[in-house]
Symmetry: C2
């Protein structure tokens, strides 16, 4: 049989993608597992999360995870792909608009405003979104641990976003194209948002906020916008 797996280490993926035939009910179950897995992986990481708890919260039994995702790591990777997809769905139109604006040679004031718009959207996505705090937790943990989804998240999510922000900063400051300074500034700017995504518990405790109300989010946006205004 040529169907036998190479078996480098695990047998694993009998059905990593739902590409081929699948009933309607199966898709619903698959999504239920994915949602529960995003929650658990986001909270506890890939080593801290247990497949049993994911199965329980998804109201399925243990072998269902293997059936649909080929195992724990396959499920983890599926979560990463899901996050990338949602990120692109929420940000892609804006990113494309800003990028075309850059290509048409928008001036520094326009670049500064675009920068504010991009960071407002990032704040909304990372901080204020319904479940996006879970996503950001997932992404930042994976980025730090360099787990199995590191490459995917870097190429599809991190690098394009930071690149765009760096280009906008470069347009504002007039730095040379090869300069690393705007890219450093972009990295620091994006990372500062981790105060309210990854480090949210300690930031809330420090500020004495119980949760992030709409007015609190506006306050955060205002501080970031002002910081962008001060870029010279």
């Amino acid at each position: 049989m040529s169907l036998s797996a190479p078996k480098t280490k695990r047998v694993a993926s009998p059905r990593a993608q739902p590409t081929a035939g699948s009933y309607r009910k199966g898709e619903e179950t698959r999504r239920r597992i994915l949602t529960a897995a995003l929650q658990e992986f986001g909270v506890a990481g890939i080593s801290g999360a247990t497949t049993r708890k994911i199965a329980q919260e998804a109201a399925v039994n243990l072998p269902a995870l293997t059936y649909y995702f080929g195992g724990k790591e396959g499920l983890y990777l599926a979560c990463a792909r899901e996050i990338v997809g949602e990120y692109q769905a929420h940000m892609l139109t804006m990113l494309v608009d800003v990028r075309t604006g850059l290509d048409r040679g928008a001036g520094p004031p326009a670049a500064r405003e675009a920068l504010k718009a991009v960071l407002d959207a990032l704040v909304d996505l990372q901080i204020a979104g319904r479940q996006s705090d879970i996503w950001m937790s997932f992404v930042l943990r994976e980025i730090a641990e360099q787990g199995p989804a590191f490459g995917l998240l870097f190429e599809q999510l991190w690098a394009p976003g930071v690149d765009l922000i760096a280009d906008l900063i470069r347009r504002v400051t007039g730095d040379a194209p090869a300069s690393t300074r705007p890219r450093l500034q972009a990295l620091l700017l994006v990372s500062s948002l981790s105060a309210f995504s990854h480090a949210r518990p300690i930031s809330l405790k420090y500020l004495g906020w119980r949760s992030l109300s709409a007015s609190n989010v506006d306050e955060i946006k205002a501080v970031i916008r002002r910081q962008i205004d001060e870029i010279a």
Copy 2:
């Protein structure tokens, strides 16, 4: 016997502190375990690290961890205390100096310079230090997961540092004492450093740097200093 533990959940800590009698060799072993544990916990977190690997890297056998630290969680807490101690040893004199300068009513220009000095020291400690990347990894992970050492790290390490930076920013901008803005700015500023501590792997990959050379660290410091100059 009144010595029987309350036993809420674990028996655990027969010797959490080396307070009482201890031979010289025992202290060395204890420190060897602590060093290996800091490395492992910093890399993999409390759930990802295994006591067996820590014991192996410390060249001791498994029960030694229970003997010296009462168990995995006791060892984890000992690591947190060790980090707080090292942090205070490296930063305390500077923090005290800056604080007394503030109390004596230093002007905005002096506050701005003090801010640069504090962040330079933070960069040195978090980014350029010999093993401090491990410490920062430990701290940020614990802060995000709100594990058993959360309270300790918040009160002894995070809150005092951010408070000082917020006070310095307030002195620079002249904000009202009750304003949340300088505290927000301080949180964002400190969190931006996570680009090169917690998120270092992805930042290095993005910049195409293989590691953080001295000149690279200087470049980072320059960008941060310039950002402090732009605070208005």
